[in-house]
């Protein structure tokens, strides 16, 4: 199977700090890939480089077989590669519906058609009852959900979620996990950035672990959780024997 999204030798420096060091991996169509790593491992930088918010220093990004390295974020969204943000970014003074309409306008030139699509998506993510509430008045969990809805309304082929679950309570996490599963069933390829292992392990088909900018593991969740390098990265060397 050819990969929908391929990262090859991606490297990014900030001054003397090496945020991503020669990172390579692929994501198959319809897969849920977990991107794990302790805080500061370079996950968000990698996301920014893949989705056109930062130019990589070296390396290539290929999407659907096309080299898209250096394309702008808005162009990549049109190509079908869309992301959400670690710190939630909704349009605060617009209603939930207007937020999602703006996403839907990417594929629907007419506002009336975009509204219909936006209402469908709000229904899908369970925010239909909150359509007319200003985004700034929604709860944190609802705003995270709204951001996913806005991204979904662009009809992406691949959706990159940057810590979509952090800051949610256990019930909200369960709902978010169910939503991600439904999205994949709908044919969307998903990359999840998380530093909470418990969320990713049962959900992901495959996991890539970053540490200090390098990919130190790329395997199934079960294999990764037994990997000494991963345990060392997360817990420290003294835990390897007991694992």
């Amino acid at each position: 199977m050819t990969a929908l999204l391929e990262i090859e030798g991606l490297t990014k420096h900030f001054g003397g700090v090496l945020a991503n060091d020669n990172v390579s991996f692929g994501v198959a169509e319809g897969e849920i890939l977990g991107l794990l790593g302790p805080n500061g491992a370079g996950k968000t930088t990698l996301f920014n480089c893949i989705t056109g918010f930062l130019p990589p220093d070296r390396g290539r990004v290929r999407f659907a077989g096309v080299d898209v390295t250096g394309r702008s974020a808005s162009r990549l969204a049109r190509d079908g590669l869309v992301r959400t943000f670690q710190i939630v970014r909704v349009f605060p003074d617009l209603s939930a519906l207007e937020n999602v309409v703006i996403g839907a306008l990417l594929r629907h030139g007419r506002v009336s058609a975009a509204r219909r699509r936006a209402l469908e998506v709000l229904e899908d993510v369970g925010l239909a009852a909150r359509s007319n509430v200003r985004a700034r008045d929604l709860t944190t969990a609802e705003r995270k959900r709204l951001e996913v809805a806005r991204a979904l309304a662009t009809d992406p082929r691949a959706l990159l979620l940057d810590e979509a679950m952090s800051g949610l309570n256990p019930r909200e996490v369960a709902e978010a996990v169910a939503l991600v599963r439904r999205l994949r069933e709908g044919g969307v390829t998903i990359v999840l950035v998380e530093h909470v292992l418990e969320v990713v392990m049962p959900l992901a088909d495959r996991v890539v672990v970053l540490q200090e900018g390098r990919a130190i593991a790329d395997a199934t969740p079960a294999a990764v959780s037994r990997d000494p390098a991963v345990i060392e990265a997360y817990l420290g060397p003294q835990f390897i024997e007991r694992a």
Binding site: G52, S74, V82, T84, F85, F91, L94, E98, L105, R110
Partner: protein, 320 residues
């Protein structure tokens, strides 16, 4: 979204009744200025209110409109109506050329850049002897006619044209508001990074808003030249004019279609009153009042006069 029916009908009725009730030339003059500044504020609102790019340099586009039609009239005998279109096109071009570098700047830095550009344009025009320099330009007096865009017996035709200018700017705003571009401009104002993430070409839409805003502002500049029949850099390029244009929209309600009309309805009479009260020495007084108003709005009601209704509704008990 409410249909515009009622406000539009009320607007047309008020505009028709005003000259019947207040018939004096001075009152008609105030009416002309209210409509002119409502049109200018509405044009500014497309870029400043909807797209959130606060410009304190719109006098540049006003000046381009006034000077383009006037120079073409004086030098080539071109009808001011055609000169108006040339000025609008030139202003739109200038907006795009200035926008490409300045739209990289965010928030206050963009606003500061617009002040600098406005002051540069003001100084350059004052020193450009080929177009009158510091002495300014007198327009040739032509017989009263619509074709000549000059009316010497009554100010009513100017009042009618000013209403047309406002209607044009308002129609443009209502069209933008209901279309993809209107949603995208508000998205850009709210969060440009998030806008990019859902496929909005941020620069392209900012430039479109700037070009439309500049073209409408330039059309008002031509009107001013034909109305006053004398222009110089201090009357059509000053910073105080840029501030007044912005303030009209901000006071009335930035990002709201009818906000600038409300702002003009307050500011123009206020400016006339200070002019009468302080006479020739009152030149600074209006700036003091504008500054105080900006502070008052940002502290008390950032949404402007048009937002007062919303705030009031929120305070009243909600119907079940």
């Amino acid at each position: 979204m409410p249909r515009p029916g009622l406000p539009v009908i009320a607007l047309v009725a008020a505009a028709l009744v005003y000259p019947l009730v207040f018939g004096s030339p001075a009152a008609i003059n105030v009416g002309v200025l209210i409509l002119l500044f409502a049109a200018l504020g509405t044009a500014w609102n497309l870029l400043g209110g909807y797209a959130g790019q606060i410009s304190f340099g719109h006098a540049v586009f006003f000046g381009i409109g006034a000077y383009t039609s006037t120079v073409l009239l004086k030098e080539a005998g071109l009808s001011p109506w055609l000169g108006m279109l040339a000025g609008a096109a030139l202003a739109a071009l200038a907006a795009v050329l200035l926008g490409v570098p300045t739209f990289r700047l965010a928030g206050h830095y963009f606003a500061i850049a617009t002040i600098v550009i406005g002051e540069i344009a003001h100084t350059v025009v004052r020193n450009l002897d080929a177009i009158g320099g510091a002495r300014g330009l007198f327009l040739p007096i032509l017989p009263t006619s619509l074709v000549n865009y000059q009316f010497h017996n009554s100010r009513l035709p100017y009042y009618g044209i000013a209403f047309g200018l406002y209607a044009l700017a308002l129609a443009a705003t209502l069209m933008v508001e209901r279309r993809r571009i209107g949603y995208y401009l508000r998205a850009i104002r709210e969060d440009p990074t998030a806008s990019r993430s859902v496929g909005v070409s941020v620069l392209q839409y900012k430039l479109a808003a700037a070009a439309l805003s500049a073209a409408l502002t330039a059309i008002c500049g031509t009107f001013y030249a034909q109305y006053v029949l004398f222009i110089d850099s201090d009357s059509v390029f000053p910073l105080s004019l840029s501030i007044l244009i912005a303030l009209t929209a901000i006071l009335g309600g930035a990002g709201r279609a009818y906000g600038p009309l409300l702002g003009a309805g307050v500011l123009v009479p206020l400016s006339e009153i200070t002019r009468i009260a302080f006479g020739g020495t009152g030149r600074g007084a209006d700036l003091v009042i504008y500054g105080a108003l900006i502070v008052l709005i940002s502290v008390a009601q950032p949404g402007g006069i048009a937002a007062l209704g919303d705030a009031l509704r929120r305070r009243l008990p909600q119907p079940a």
